[in-house]
Structures are given as C-alpha cells and as structure tokens.
C-alpha cells in the first residue's frame, strides 16, 4: 500500500485494529476521543490529539457499531448480538442486553436520553442508560441496515430499501414509512443536523437528499445524484457509498465510498465542495467531530469483490478540515 504522507493536517492513527474497521465515532463534546468498532472484536478508544490508543475492550464477535453516550460511557454491539456498555473511567464493561441477531447500529439520542440499537432481527430497541436496561422493541419491515438520528427523529433504513421515520418521544407508531428513492440497496442514512431531512446512499454510487416534511412543496426539493464512480477502460465502475457524516455547523456532508474517495457536498446548493485524495482502500466509516474541525476516515476493504492482492491494511486517518473544504460557498 502506498504510504500516505502524513502532515499536520492529516495523519494515520497508530495501533489500529487488526481487521476491518466498521465504525468510527467521535464523542459528543470533544474532538479528542474517537471510538472505533472493528471486526477484530475490539472496541477501542483513541486519543486523536496525541495519537494513541487509550483503552480497548472486547466483544465475543466482530463489533459493528459503537457510540458515546457521554464522555464516560460507550455502547457497542455486533455480530454476537449483545449490547455492551463500557465505563471509560473505571474501565469496566457489562452486557446490557441482546438482540436475536447481530446488532448493526448503535446510537445515542441525547434529546430523549436513550440508546438505540438496530439489528438484523428487524428490530430497533431502546435502552435506558440509567439502568441500563431495555425499554422497548420496535419491529421494522426488514433487517436494519442503517440508522440516522437528528434531534428526536430516528430514520431507519432496512433491507429492501424501506425507510421508517420514528419520533423517539412517541414510539407507539412509526411517523412515516417510506421507500428509499434510490433503486438499489440502502447503504447508509444520516440526518441533516437542522432536522429538515436526511441523506441516503446506496450500493450503486448514488446519494439522495430527502426531506422529512411531507408537504408537496417540500417534497419537490428532493433529488439524487451519482457519485463515487470511476471510469476505467471504458467501463464505469460503480461503488457503494458506505459512509455519510454531517458537519454540524454547516449542514454539509461528507460521503465515503468503496472507491477510496471522500467527497464533501453542499446538499442545499447541490454542489460538491471538495474531494480529498484517494485513500488506500474503501472508506468504511466517516465521522466529523462535533465542532466540525476534524474528520475521522476509516479505510478497510469491505469485500465488495473477491479478495484483492495484496490485501490493504485497515487504517484510520484523522484529518483536520478547513472551512474551505466544508463551508458552503
């Protein structure tokens, strides 16, 4: 793999997991600490300012997602179906509960103070961190592939392209049931920080910007665009768009695809703001820090195709992003 030149603006984290990095998440209040979930069964906490790994704990299977509740508590879940919580101060972990199938997404909603998990058993579960204990199970049409959170709105993307919008304050019924406007399998959904809508990406190099307000005038504004495609030798290669992350301040978003590129988009003006250099392999996860100054970029081969030779290393890049790259023009 080509050695990425490191700089103050972008560097590679050390001590990264030994297998695919599935998810990277910054904490809600600081851009110093990053949680990393990996197929090597570990959940690791990194200090990105000093570039070292502070803590790690294990699951009994590959971990697919993790999140911070606050600076002290982390939650994670994966193929073993268990939701674990870890206290970063006391360095203790415990199992909160489980799903009947692997957990794919773990999120924390500060508005309602709940941990939310989405699983391949087609259920979304809510957990009260004060227990911690399970407080509800909500069935979705199909296996949960992705979840986006904005305020109290939870947008769940499932197999067969269903999208369900829930209001976490009232889980008696789903607020909206929709179908993704993309024709291919949903890969990732993230919500606009301004709560107006969400962005959904598919495996077919396409991203759609959709709005939550069901009124016709607002729905007219929705659109989709192609991205993460490369034309090589006359064949256009279309890559899954695996990751989306929003800049909280500007409502612009970054997308990462299996082509190894990260693009930053202005969804309202329909423009691409920036594209970074190509990374060594597929981008598996992206996360902006809360203040929007740092972007964590996880690169791991995702087996979109049969093995490639040589297998790229799994790495995480921390990049300081500038207004030039993220601010709408």
């Amino acid at each position: 793999m080509t050695k990425m030149s490191e700089s103050r603006m972008e560097f590679r984290l050390k001590n990264t997991p030994s297998d695919c990095i599935q998810s990277v998440k910054f904490g809600p209040s600081s851009s110093q600490f990053l949680l990393v979930a990996s197929w090597d069964k570990s959940v690791r906490l990194f200090d990105v300012v000093n570039n070292n790994m502070r803590l790690q704990y294990q699951h009994s299977g590959p971990v697919l997602d993790c999140c911070f509740q606050d600076a002290v508590h982390a939650y994670s879940g994966g193929l073993d179906g268990q939701l674990k919580t870890f206290d970063l101060n006391t360095n203790t972990e415990s199992v909160v509960g489980a799903h009947e199938a692997p957990i794919r997404c773990v999120e924390f909603c500060p508005e309602v103070n709940m941990v939310i998990t989405g699983s391949w058993d087609s259920n979304v579960k809510l957990w009260d961190p004060r227990g911690p204990r399970e407080v509800g199970t909500f069935q979705q049409p199909s296996k949960v592939y992705t979840m986006g959170l904005s305020g109290e709105k939870l947008v769940v993307g499932t197999l067969y392209r269903k999208v369900i919008v829930w209001d976490l304050r009232n889980m008696g019924f789903a607020q909206q049931r929709r179908e993704s406007s993309l024709k291919y399998q949903t890969r990732c959904i993230q919500c606009f920080p301004n709560k107006q809508g969400y962005v959904v990406s598919s495996i077919e190099g396409r991203v759609a910007v959709e709005y939550l307000d069901p009124s016709p005038e607002v729905q007219k504004k929705k659109y989709a665009f192609k991205c993460h495609r490369l034309k090589e030798d006359g064949i256009e290669k279309i890559f899954p768009v695996n990751a989306i992350s929003f800049h909280n301040g500007y409502n612009t978003f970054a997308t990462g695809g299996s082509d190894g590129y990260v693009n930053i988009w202005d969804g309202f003006n329909k423009k691409r703001l920036c594209q970074f250099h190509r990374y060594p392999t597929s981008i598996s996860s992206l996360c902006f820090s809360n203040d929007g100054n740092t972007l964590a970029i996880a690169c791991s081969f995702m087996y979109e195709q049969e093995k490639i030779d040589p297998m790229p290393e799994d790495c995480i890049f921390i990049r300081r992003v500038t207004d030039q790259e993220t601010k709408p023009k």
Partner: protein, 493 residues
C-alpha cells in the same frame, strides 16, 4: 424564476421532449446533452454549431444530434432553448400536454401517469412526466433494467406515462435509447435497449440541479404515507422499475451475468434465496457482490467469522456460547458453518456440535463422530485418516448459524488434518469413498459424485434451507454437516 407565466408552458427540449422548470436549465441541458462534442467534450450552443466544430476541429462529420429522439435528431435545425422550434412541433407538444393534463385532472406539474393515453404511435412523444408517478405500478412493472438505475437521473424525464408497457422508461427517450421507436411488446424484452445502467450522458456529478431533479409525483402518496400505511409507500418512483427489485415479468437481463431474481419486496423477507442484483451491464459494473445483502452480512458469513459466538434466538439470553447443543438453531440469517481458522475449539467441542448434523443426518447409524467435523477441503477427497479434522468452529456450535436446513457447509481448511469428505463419512462410518452418497436431506441437493467435495462453501446470505445460489453445486447440500450432534459423521474411528 418567473414561474408564474410558465405555469402552463414549461420549457421543453425539442430534441428529447424533456421538460424543465426554466429555460436556463433547458439550455444547460441542451448544451450538455445535445450540443456536446463527443470528442473533446466542448459544449457548443446549437446543433449546427456542433456540426461545424466537429468538422473544423476534429475533421469529423456528425449527422445526428446526440441523445435525441429519432425524429428529432436533425443537426441542421437550429434550436436554442425554446427558440427555433418549428410550429407544428410546438403545437403537437401543446396538444399532448393538454391531453396529458386533461384526463389526469391533476394540476401537478409533472405528474402524469396516465397509461390510459397511449397515444404513442411508437414514439416517445408525450413529454415525459418527471417520474413515473405513483400511478401505475402495474404498467411500470415491465420496466426494469434500464429504468431502474435511470430513474433518479431522469427525474424529470420520467417514464412516459404512456410508455410503461413499452418500456419506454425514463431514459429511453433521452438517452442512448433514443431509438426506441417501435415499442417492444409489452412485457417483451425490456432489455433490448442497450441497458446501460450508467447513463453516459449523465456522467458529471452535479452538473446541473435540474438534471437530477426529482420531480416525483408522489404528492398524493405522501398523504397516504402519513397514515402509516404499511404498504410500501412511494416517495419516489414506483417500485417495479428497479432492476434489483423489479417484478419484471420474469425478465432476466441478458446482458448481465446475474439474473434479477427479486420478486417484490413484500415477500422477500420470507424468501430463502437472497435476491440478486444486476451488477453488470453494458458498460458499467457495480462493485458489490451479487447477492442483495449488505456487505457486512456477506462478511459475517465468511468462514473466519463463524467461530465467533453469534446471536441467535435461543441465545439471546446467554451471552456465552454454550457448547454446542446437538441441534443447532439457526437464525434466519445464519448460515454456513465454516471452519474458522481461528477456531481453537478442540475437536471435542467441535465434534459435539455440529458435525454431523447435516451430513450425517441421514445416517442414522452413524455414530457421532469425534469431535470435529469434517469438512473437506475442496481438493481433498476423502483422505480418510484416522483423525478427522474438523474443527467445527465454535461458531458452529453456536447454532445460531447453523441452520440445519440451510447451511452452507463449512469448508474445511486444507491445512486441517486430513479431511474426509462428508459423504464418505456418511456412509455408515466407513470411510468409503464417495460412492455411497447418502441422501442428503437438506436442501435436497446432492452434489454430484464426481465433485471434489468442496462442498462446504460458505454461501453467504442464504437463509433458505439448503438453497444454494445457482452457481453452487453440491456444497449446499453438505450444508448441514456441521450441525447435529447425534449424527456426527462417524469418520474416523
């Protein structure tokens, strides 16, 4: 944008009949689609301009306007935006527009889904509504393939309301499918268009918002959406039109290696076979496995992750994977047991579990084999050795994955100890060779004898019982090898 006066007469492109909100966007469209030099990509202003440019600069003649309808591709006609459109064509467009709006009765701008109006004399005349609109999922049915991926792009091209049966589809008119003159018989090979799932003309990412604008006509469906109807709502184009999920009358995209199998979302959940995605088309390829499962699910199915304790219905409460029970429960998504290279489980443990399950299933007499399941490496055909290799990954044990019915057999690693093919094993514990093929209950498939027993393929995402993807021959059968305590393959000793 001065929409008021354009309410009724939105600008439309003479070359391809698409409609636009604004003349500026129309012009941008024309420059990008019809007046762009295919050699140097320079955008000219008019058709004749393009022709002159090609002649002078590239010394090449051009006789047709690119991406135009067959009857509208005359390069000599000078059209710029809405200027230069011949009278008759203007009138005809008005007529059609009136025709469309009339019966529909809806005043939505680009909504139109009337399949009642099939006044298409084989041409793509009616200005395409932006999107197939919620109207007729039915007629849309046959449209798939090219339509699917094109949909979002051709947002405002929309499938012709009239076209559905003809597979007009959104891009037909506009794109490379310009030649869609004679409608192919409905339900006929929708595929005959060079199904370019990638619309070459739409390459640029965000070139113009209009290009990608989605004027979907789902306004009405939204209302129903809000009432939480559980049927799939359509915010967005009608479902049948996608390549992956189309209900196409059994259409299989000839140009693709994988056939679109999907039959509509509603029942897919119960389906045992994973739907396949059309990943290859004429000049584009989606870099994704063919099965329509997420990359993570596919990875989870790989052998090396099998040993890990997996969630399963039974295990929901028990964090630690218990030593394998005889029977392995399998959550719907689990499959395949595989030998995991990480498997440290001793043979004993392994043996207890699974093995045998599948394979030995039918052998009543088989003694539970020793621990370890035998999985054979493909090339090895029954090296029957005293020891069975088998380490069924603990995962196997866990059951979760192993669905007996399903299961892709785990593949033994070649570096395992001698591996016996399950088959031989099966037969009454005698390491006979493949001759005696025990009936494989699972999945009902039986690998041909001659097969080098690779059998244990990990097939990801096969929820179904022993269903293997078309390409897999025997192995699925083997599937169950791992499961099943009591039926362990007698294997060695």
């Amino acid at each position: 944008m001065g929409r008021k006066k354009k309410k009724q007469t939105k600008p439309w492109c003479w070359y391809c009949n698409r409609e636009f909100d604004d003349e500026k966007i129309l012009i941008q469209h024309q420059k990008a689609k019809h007046f762009k030099c295919h050699i140097c990509h320079k955008k000219l202003y008019t058709g004749p301009g393009l022709s002159i440019h090609c002649m002078q600069v590239h010394k090449e003649t051009i006789d047709k306007v690119p991406n135009a309808l067959p009857n509208r591709n005359n390069i000599e006609i000078e059209i710029y935006g809405m200027e230069g459109i011949p009278e008759e064509d203007l009138k005809e467009h008005e007529r059609q527009r009136a025709g469309r709006m009339g019966p529909g009765g809806r005043r939505q701008d680009e909504e139109d889904d009337d399949d009642s109006q099939s006044s298409l004399p084989g041409q793509s005349n009616p200005p395409p509504p932006p999107v197939p609109s919620q109207g007729p999922p039915g007629p849309m049915g046959p449209m798939m393939g090219p339509n699917g991926p094109m949909m979002p792009m051709m947002g405002h091209m929309g499938p012709m309301g009239h076209m559905p049966p003809y597979m007009g589809g959104p891009g037909m008119m506009a794109g490379p499918m310009g030649h869609l003159g004679p409608m192919p018989p409905p339900g006929g090979p929708p595929v005959n268009n060079p199904p370019s799932t990638s619309q070459p003309p739409n390459k640029p990412l965000f070139p113009s918002a209009a290009q990608f604008a989605y004027k979907t006509g789902h306004t009405t469906t939204l209302c129903s959406l809000l009432h939480n109807t559980t049927t799939s709502s359509q915010i967005g184009p009608v479902k049948p039109a996608f390549p992956a999920y189309s209900q196409a009358n059994g259409q299989s995209n000839p140009s693709n290696q994988s056939s679109t199998v999907n039959s509509g979302q509603q029942d897919k959940m119960e389906s045992k076979k994973p739907a396949l995605i059309t990943t290859v088309s004429a000049n584009s390829r989606i870099i994704h496995p063919e099965e329509d499962i997420s990359l993570e699910e596919k990875r989870a199915g790989m052998p090396r992750y099998q040993q890990a304790p997996r969630a399963s219905p039974q295990r929901a409460r028990a964090p630690a994977p218990a030593p394998p029970p005889q029977r392995v429960e399998s959550p719907p998504e689990e499959r395949r047991m595989k030998m995991a290279r990480y498997n440290q489980v001793s043979a004993a443990a392994a043996a207890a579990m699974a093995m045998g399950g599948m394979i030995t299933h039918h052998h009543a007499g088989v003694r539970p084999a020793h621990p370890g399941v035998v999985v054979e490496a493909p090339p090895m055909v029954s090296t029957i050795g005293p020891t069975m290799v088998t380490t069924m990954s603990p995962a196997m044990v866990h059951t979760g994955h192993m669905a007996i019915p399903v299961s892709l057999p785990a593949i033994m690693r070649p570096n395992m100890q001698p591996i016996m093919t399950p088959q031989p094993m099966v037969s009454a514990g005698v390491p006979t060779m493949p001759t005696a093929m025990p009936p494989l209950p699972l999945g009902g498939m039986r690998p041909p004898l001659g097969l080098p027993q690779v059998c244990w393929l990990t097939i990801s995402a096969l929820p179904g019982p022993g269903q293997m993807a078309p390409g897999l021959a025997g192995p699925p059968m083997m599937g169950a090898p791992i499961m099943g305590g009591p039926h362990m393959i007698p294997r060695f000793r």
